[in-house]
Symmetry: C2
Subunit: 462 residues, 2 copies
């Protein structure tokens, strides 16, 4: 940031936020042990979600481009190495290793915007063991968040087809990166944009803005606030009308419209942020329609989520667009996914953790998806990568030798993929409540391998 903006003062903890030290200490202690044991063999790790949370019937994969950004640029600075060494967190061998560290592995992944289910690998990392281990914490941190948010956002899209949906959640997102990447994940899932300006600048996401209650309160009257606001904007005038009395607010707008129109200013929409939105939106719609202003749109916000959208539309609320804030950006009903990044193979041999309640399917795996003649998804098989199964393989190579195999995908392309994914989604999975599970079969070979490893490990542990 310093180069590009020499006057902005530094905030060290923020400037270092992309540091490779953003990891769990045990990644370093394990790397040290791997080096000591000369364990540089090829490791295969896979990221997957153990079970679908809340009422989710499926997930939407997201966050891959940010992961690839991380893997391509991960590098330790001298001052970071000095700090590690002086604090006893790394011996000389590890420091020397980290000094030359670049991620040199291969990555296979499910493209962003693909529908995925529990137990299906979303990302497969193939790299020398210390490398594959060192990237774990941030890989989880990046893929987990956007997959969670995209999976939440697409539920809003399913609940309000054809309506304008805008991410309003920056203020209560968990920090800066969450705010920025939630805007991206929601846009991928089918939102039309975000209120977060930085999302526009960094990802070219359309930015939407209205006005806040404080603006109205700072003026002596609501009418003065509306007029002052409208006259200061070039276009895109959206007035918040629920500061005092919502339907009265709509009448105040109606009275202003002729005067503004003389000045060439159109009120595009009003926003209602509180109260009974179904009832108020009908009252407001009636005011505008009765006064010959059917083109003024109604935008609603305030504690909304997919269930509120479904109820409002079922009640026939004449609302044209919605700002979805907190519950989207924190995935309120399911603020985390039970996900893992597990060693599945090392030095040519499959591996399996057997911890109670946390078993994983071993081996280097692929997901094959079968679709019907009409394109509808019929069922997936999680198979060994070496097996031959009918269906479309979901994991594709995205990085080789630490380098992206293609330029970052555009968000337009990812959004188009989500459109296709949604068209192929079986009807029962569109429900906001839990439906019968989509069939995800674990192949016989994977099951056989798991059994074999369990027997072997029984021998090892005793």
């Amino acid at each position: 940031m310093n180069d590009a903006n020499p006057t902005r003062r530094n905030v060290p903890w923020l400037d270092d936020i992309a540091s490779p030290l953003l990891t769990d200490l045990y990644q370093l202690t394990m790397a040290q042990a791997y080096l000591a044991g000369d364990m540089h063999g090829e490791a295969v790790f896979e990221f997957f979600v153990r079970r679908l949370p809340g009422a989710r019937n499926f997930l939407l994969s997201a966050g891959l481009e940010q992961l690839l950004d991380f893997l391509e640029t991960m590098q330790f600075a001298e001052r970071e190495l000095e700090w590690l060494e002086s604090h006893g967190y790394a011996n000389k061998e590890l420091i020397a290793y980290l000094r030359q560290f670049r991620f040199s592995g291969d990555v296979y992944a499910v493209p962003e915007g693909t529908v995925v289910f529990a137990n299906e690998p979303l990302v497969r990392v193939v790299a020398p063991l210390p490398e594959a281990q060192l990237v774990e914490s941030r890989l989880l941190n990046l893929i987990h968040f956007q997959t969670m948010i995209a999976s939440k956002a697409v539920r809003c899209v399913l609940a309000a087809p054809g309506r304008l949906l805008v991410d309003f959640g920056m203020r209560r997102a968990h920090g800066a990166e969450a705010a920025l990447l939630a805007a991206r994940a929601a846009y991928i899932a089918g939102f039309q944009g975000s209120a977060t300006v930085l999302a526009g600048r960094e990802f070219d996401i359309p930015v939407y803005g209205t006005m806040a209650h404080s603006f109205v309160e700072a003026h002596d009257t609501e009418a003065a606030a509306f007029e002052s606001f409208a006259r200061s904007q070039c276009d895109n005038v959206v007035l918040v009308i629920d500061t005092y009395d919502t339907v009265q607010g709509a009448r105040t707008v109606v009275e202003l419209i002729p005067r503004l129109r003389e000045a060439g200013i159109e009120v595009r929409a009003v926003r209602i942020d509180s109260g009974n939105l179904a009832e108020l939106s009908r009252g407001v719609r009636a005011v505008f329609d009765a006064c010959g202003e059917p083109d003024v749109r109604i935008f609603a916000s305030g504690g909304l989520n997919e269930h509120a959208l479904e109820q409002l539309l079922a009640a026939g609320a004449p609302i044209d667009g919605f700002g979805i804030g907190t519950d989207l950006d924190v995935s309120g009903d399911a603020p985390y996914l039970d996900c893992a990044y597990k060693l599945q193979e090392y030095a040519g041999r499959a591996r399996r953790k057997r911890s109670a309640g946390k078993t994983t399917w071993p081996g280097r795996k692929q997901v094959l998806r079968r679709c019907g003649a009409d394109g509808t998804m019929r069922g997936d098989v999680v198979a060994l990568d070496s097996e031959m199964f009918p269906g479309q393989p979901l994991l594709v190579p995205v990085m080789r030798g630490g380098q992206r195999l293609q330029d970052p995908e555009s968000l337009a392309k990812i959004r188009a993929r989500v459109g296709q994914s949604m068209a192929a989604l079986p009807d029962e999975l569109r429900s906001l409540t839990r439906s019968e599970a989509y069939p995800v079969e674990i192949s016989e070979s994977v099951r056989a391998l798991a059994g074999e490893l369990d027997r072997l490990q029984g021998d090892i542990a005793t």
Copy 2:
């Protein structure tokens, strides 16, 4: 970052994460309107939480130093201004204003680590209206997150007094900043440290690490993994024993201990990450005690939260320390606070939003806390700042004219304040379930002002 580390390649969206464009678009549209209307009068905004979420009986304030970092350094870069202008998000007047923008206001705040309740202002910003407005989104984003996490973490501390508590949540925290600041907030609240290395580097928080199951799986036998790991570490050997069979894992450790001891290596602890922790910890403790190794500590992790801690300790589980991960870093039972930053006064006149279900108490306010002779908190009054009330005022000046009034507080000092706060906490508030509400009184003058404004606004709106 570039200066200090010329070799690390840039990731633009990460390098820009601290940009002042991390805001809601309406802050810019409102600023444009304020400028057009020459509304530079003094505004008073207050941050407060509307209600306590989940089973919280109190909150712990946190995040102030990061807010002050933001306010002291907030500045727009030329390339950001060009982008805003070229995309039509700001007119020439606003661009000129943003070009010279520095926050010049005063800030009053409740010191970090203070016990606070619903409706009590935690931060008061006094600044020219456009400035106070422009800082809103990030102010909320910063104070909301750490206050939420500290309030969650202190519940774990109350549930497991005297035990080692370590933040393990980085991987499922919502992005990089959440991971880093969750470590800080948990440490403030009384955790002993974090697994997140960057938290050590940026905030001098003690860093804890163990080993992962993948390390065990990568070796041919558990015993070989343990020995290899122990020999590679200088000290601080903690072995994860639940990859295959937990009690058997403990026996494997016992067999190794003499050989390691010959090499001058002590096994400090074992970690159990799955299964019935109460039962397994007893089994593991019995193994070590029977073999004359009472000093090997037992550390537990895996899906823990304050309720699990309470249950484990009530069941007499011989566990010495806990890693608390996901549920801490996402505040799983309450992943957001219903908080707001509201205009309370403009140009010398109190203001009040009256939106249904979202009323706020108007005016420039203070919180006065009364304590008993033994130091125990007895009750708070939210009063006008101009009123005289007995009790300790919680809001203190922390910034004047955009400059901090003192150096950042050390975490040691904030932790000491939390210690005092906890000592002064009424017993019933220590419960993990909802107790009777702590008395927070709204002063007569505040109520009278609210009534007065409602009557006035009734006149305005009609």
